[in-house]
């Protein structure tokens, strides 16, 4: 009897909890439907001016305040944003879900991943007809129109002017300078395996040094190279000029980083980019194959190329707009010039060799 008593007590608890769980899930499920009433299915078949379009983007994607609302007001299309992770995670998730994509438009595929995305058939061709499309074509990948360039930038070494002034050392200029004894223990770069700017710098050295790139990295290592996990780790913890007060005055960052180091009350930045060490990075958008709302995706892609979005790209995503008709922010125009001759590696070659290069790099640098 003791057992049965405690059993029926337990059973009641169980029942109550089960009901609560079921109710909770039902409620939550209802709730989750709200933002997209009717949604995608109508959008695909009907005129573009309706439904919901979902953009799948990397962590760094964002638009200026209210711009997506403006888009909705103008087109009647609701926009949802999903952001699964960094550029690598984004691309791999897009590849894995290509038959049932997470959304309609992808943004944030860069030129180091472009080939993988196109080869896997993740995106379908679309030729935008907006004025900036001609500018975007300057950065096109391949000739299939699957990917449309939205912005670009240079991944370059940055130096802390203050540190070099203070220590009476001349700033380095070229990649080869970095293996010189006077720059021993001064350089920090993010890991090429775990960080996309880190990988971009690996490509810089491959473009610059050719087959000798592994020897170059060995020389860097012998000269006291520090490898940090990611960009923020390198820039804020190890770099002396990033605000975190680290020990090393040379870091891998972007050509666009210096304007943000103008001190309070100061007139010029305390850091600068070494424009002979840059890799040109281009970020693309593409309409996803099997998208539920391909028309909406196309309209949103056009919107990304519109002047109003393009001119905000420096402030929201720290990249340069592809459009040549919009003005750069004043401090960018002054302090963030792009490299005249950045290094580039053919995206097809990158796709073929990525794994091997990273393995070799790990062996040489990490051990």
């Amino acid at each position: 009897m003791a057992r049965s008593l405690s059993r029926s007590r337990a059973a009641r608890v169980a029942l109550t909890s089960t009901v609560a769980l079921a109710a909770g899930l039902t409620l939550a499920a209802c709730g989750s439907d709200e933002p997209a009433p009717g949604g995608a299915e109508t959008g695909a078949s009907e005129a573009p001016a309706s439904g919901t379009v979902t953009i799948v983007a990397h962590d760094s994607f964002s638009l200026a305040d209210g711009q997506l609302d403006e888009f909705t007001a103008r087109t009647g299309i609701q926009v949802e944003v999903v952001q699964p992770g960094d550029a690598g995670t984004l691309v791999n998730q897009l590849v894995l879900t290509k038959d049932a994509p997470l959304g309609d438009l992808a943004f944030g595929i860069d030129n180091t991943f472009a080939s993988r995305v196109v080869d896997e058939g993740v995106v379908v061709p679309y030729s935008s007809a907006v004025p900036a499309a001609a500018d975007a074509a300057q950065h096109a990948f391949g000739d299939g129109n699957e990917l449309t360039a939205i912005d670009y930038g240079d991944v370059c070494l940055n130096v802390d002017h203050a540190w070099f002034d203070e220590h009476g050392v001349a700033e380095p200029v070229t990649l080869d300078d970095l293996t010189e004894p006077e720059y021993k223990d001064l350089l920090v770069v993010p890991n090429a395996v775990t960080s996309s700017p880190g990988f971009a710098f690996l490509l810089t050295t491959i473009a610059a040094q050719g087959d000798g790139w592994q020897d170059y990295w060995s020389a860097l290592k012998d000269n006291g190279l520090k490898v940090a996990e990611g960009w923020s780790d390198a820039y804020f913890t190890d770099f002396s000029g990033g605000g975190g007060g680290g020990p090393r005055p040379i870091v891998l960052s972007y050509a666009s980083s210096p304007p943000y180091t103008v001190p309070e009350g100061g007139t010029e930045p305390t850091t600068g980019a070494l424009l002979d060490t840059c890799f040109r990075q281009v970020e693309y958008a593409g309409v996803l194959a099997h998208a539920k709302n391909p028309r909406g995706a196309q309209e949103l892609l056009d919107f990304l190329l519109s002047d109003e979005v393009q001119e905000q790209i420096p402030t929201t995503m720290y990249m340069y707009p592809v459009s040549t008709t919009v003005d750069l922010p004043a401090d960018w125009a002054q302090w963030a010039p792009l490299a005249e001759q950045p290094y580039e590696v053919d995206p097809v070659e990158v796709a073929e060799n990525r794994a091997q290069w990273l393995e070799d790099w790990s062996e040489t640098v990490i051990g």
Binding site: A10, D59, G85, T194, E229, T261, L358
Partner: protein, 595 residues
């Protein structure tokens, strides 16, 4: 192990005990009862099957099934790489060492923080829990900016070393041991140890032969949790040591998110599963058989104030030196835990070359590229965590309820112990595997016409999956320790079933539920596990906003990210403190969980 006490041990009555109860209670239909029990088993198992096992299986299948055929050649390939053996060794070394250290330091900590009273104890207890939730980018800042050459602790030359990783893992998991062991210790009847002392045992001997064996189940339980957390840590390992100290988990992460080599990732996931299952089995053995045989007292029974001076009138050799030793160790550990946290606060107050609250003022801004203010994100975090905690409490509570039964049939008992191990697995399986598995399995799952992958509901569900084991480990020991005779007495005296529940069970379970709730909430706030790989919709949580802020150039974003991290830490400490209150508001017979 035998504990002699005058208090009734709240163990289950001998098999076959019957107690007369009012006849009207017999009216319950047996069929209904069976149905409800079946539901209590089925609901949590279904939840874990759908939101844990299924995604993992789908992800593994992606690696092992090629063109519709099972292809296990990946095992040979992966094991042929010398690197594989190295990372398996490194995983065991890191997790093993960090677990051993956490236990060695955590047991004295449990004594001081749960067996002794002193001013500020609640604050210290909350403080040691904070590291548990800090996002890894922030731990990177908090730790590395101390250790980096030229940093305050740069002279130790620990930056990027194996020792730094182990230290950080201990930093994360110290609280797991303190709370786990302390929860049991504070209700251990002190008279057993006193009796041993009266019979001539030295304080050390009495501790070693009486107290320590009594604590063994809690130590085993905390150690296995710590091991699971350490063996599946990847952010910490990557930030502090980089890939040269890579573990199975970091390798799965690299293979999946960077190389898309799902075959290698699947092999490594299986290896991880084997390691984890082995540890769980060992820990399970150490736990069972002891869990119910304890004599427990009221919470405050054995608690004494912590004094630096020997109590006047007591003889030397009364264990005062032992207590002081424990206090010294704990004080040292708490200072070490506090250093990175203080470093974080100090850095958040640094504005250019001066000090100020500017970064805190910026918390209400909506910076370009982040889209929401830190406060909005904090609210989102709280809302998501509350939902996740709710789900985890229901699922974990049901699991604990089922596991607390002691069926007579050996087969049923074995089934329960299997279930006990299975519900722990969400802590031991790679978050990457689960996260990517969600992606592959949650599009129109089971033919339902919903895309759960991008549903806002998936985030709290993924968090709940990780929080369920925490709830189970917290609530189960108490449910097992409730003396059924208490209920029977109440029933005999005429209490209705609801009243028995309200007056006997609830007061006993309320506090451990509170504690478990606190940890589940903290785990959710800290975004553990698979959550970080979900395609999250547009309402970013606090850790996501911190991550975005610290991904932007400029000292201001950096400062705001640090201030936001301090907010996250305070939020956690606050939640834990509130849950502690929920515990101590209930007095009397209440007993704590393993947590």
């Amino acid at each position: 192990m035998t504990l002699t006490t005058t208090r009734r041990a709240p163990t289950a009555p001998p098999e076959g005990t019957t107690v007369l109860a009012p006849g009207r209670r017999r009216a319950h239909g047996r069929g209904l009862r069976t149905l409800l029990w079946a539901l209590a088993v089925a609901v949590p198992l279904a939840f874990l099957a759908v939101f844990f096992a299924w995604p993992v299986v789908v992800m593994l299948a992606k690696g092992f099934v090629v063109d519709g055929r099972l292809d296990l050649s990946g095992f040979a390939d992966v094991f042929a790489r010398p690197r594989t053996w190295r990372i398996v060794g490194l995983t065991l070394a890191q997790a093993g060492l960090a677990t051993a250290l956490s236990v060695l330091l955590g047991v004295p900590g449990a004594y001081v923080l749960h067996r002794r009273s002193f001013r500020g104890r609640a604050a210290v207890r909350a403080l040691v829990t904070v590291p548990f939730v800090l996002p890894t980018v922030v731990v990177g800042v908090a730790f590395r900016s101390l250790l980096v050459e030229g940093g305050p602790l740069g002279f130790l030359h620990l930056d990027g070393t194996f020792a730094a990783i182990v230290a950080a893992l201990v930093f994360f998991n110290y609280a797991v041991v303190v709370r786990g062991v302390g929860g049991l210790w504070e209700r251990l009847d002190p008279r057993a140890e006193q009796a041993a002392r009266a019979l001539g045992a030295s304080p050390w001997r009495a501790f070693r032969t009486v107290t320590l064996p009594a604590l063994a189940p809690a130590i085993a339980s905390s150690a296995s949790l710590t091991f699971l957390f350490c063996a599946t840590a990847f952010g910490t390992v990557l930030v502090l040591g980089g890939l040269q100290f890579g573990t199975i988990e970091t390798e799965i992460w690299v293979q999946t998110t960077q190389f898309l080599d799902l075959r290698a990732a699947a092999v490594l996931s299986v290896v991880q599963l084997v390691v984890v299952a082995g540890v769980l089995t060992v820990a399970g053995r150490a736990r069972t058989g002891r869990e119910r045989a304890l004599a427990l007292g009221g919470e405050r029974q054995g608690e004494r104030p912590l004094t630096l001076r020997r109590t006047p009138g007591t003889a030397p050799g009364d264990g005062h030196a032992l207590a002081l030793g424990a206090a010294a160790v704990t004080a040292a550990v708490v200072v070490l835990l506090a250093v990175p946290l203080v470093n974080l606060v100090v850095r958040s107050l640094r504005v250019g070359d001066r000090w100020g609250l500017d970064h805190y003022a910026a918390l209400s801004d909506e910076p370009a590229g982040v889209t929401v203010s830190v406060w909005t994100a904090a609210l989102t975090s709280l809302r998501v965590a509350a939902l996740a905690t709710g789900i985890a409490l229901v699922v974990g509570g049901l699991v604990a309820l089922v596991l607390s039964r002691r069926p007579r049939r050996p087969a049923a008992r074995r089934a329960l112990s299997t279930m006990d191990a299975v519900v722990m697995l969400p802590l031991g399986v790679s978050a990457v595997t689960v996260g990517f598995g969600f992606l592959l399995s949650m599009h129109e799952p089971f033919g339902l016409h919903v895309d759960l992958r991008t549903s806002p509901l998936l985030v709290p569900i993924a968090q709940a999956v990780v929080a369920v084991p925490l709830v189970v480990r917290g609530v189960l020991p108490v449910l097992r320790a409730i003396d059924p005779r208490l209920r029977e007495v109440a029933a005999t005296l005429g209490a209705g079933e609801g009243r028995v529940l309200g007056t006997v069970d609830w007061p006993l379970v309320a506090r451990p539920v509170g504690l478990a709730m606190g940890l589940a909430f903290a785990a959710s706030l800290g975004e553990f596990g698979a959550t970080s790989f979900l395609a999250r919709p547009d309402a970013p949580t606090l850790p996501v906003v911190i991550f975005r802020l610290i991904g932007r150039p400029g000292p201001d974003s950096y400062g705001t990210a640090l201030a936001a991290s301090v907010v996250l830490a305070m939020l956690t400490a606050g939640v834990v403190a509130v849950c502690e209150r929920l515990r101590s508001a209930r007095g009397g017979l209440a007993v704590g969980g393993e947590w």
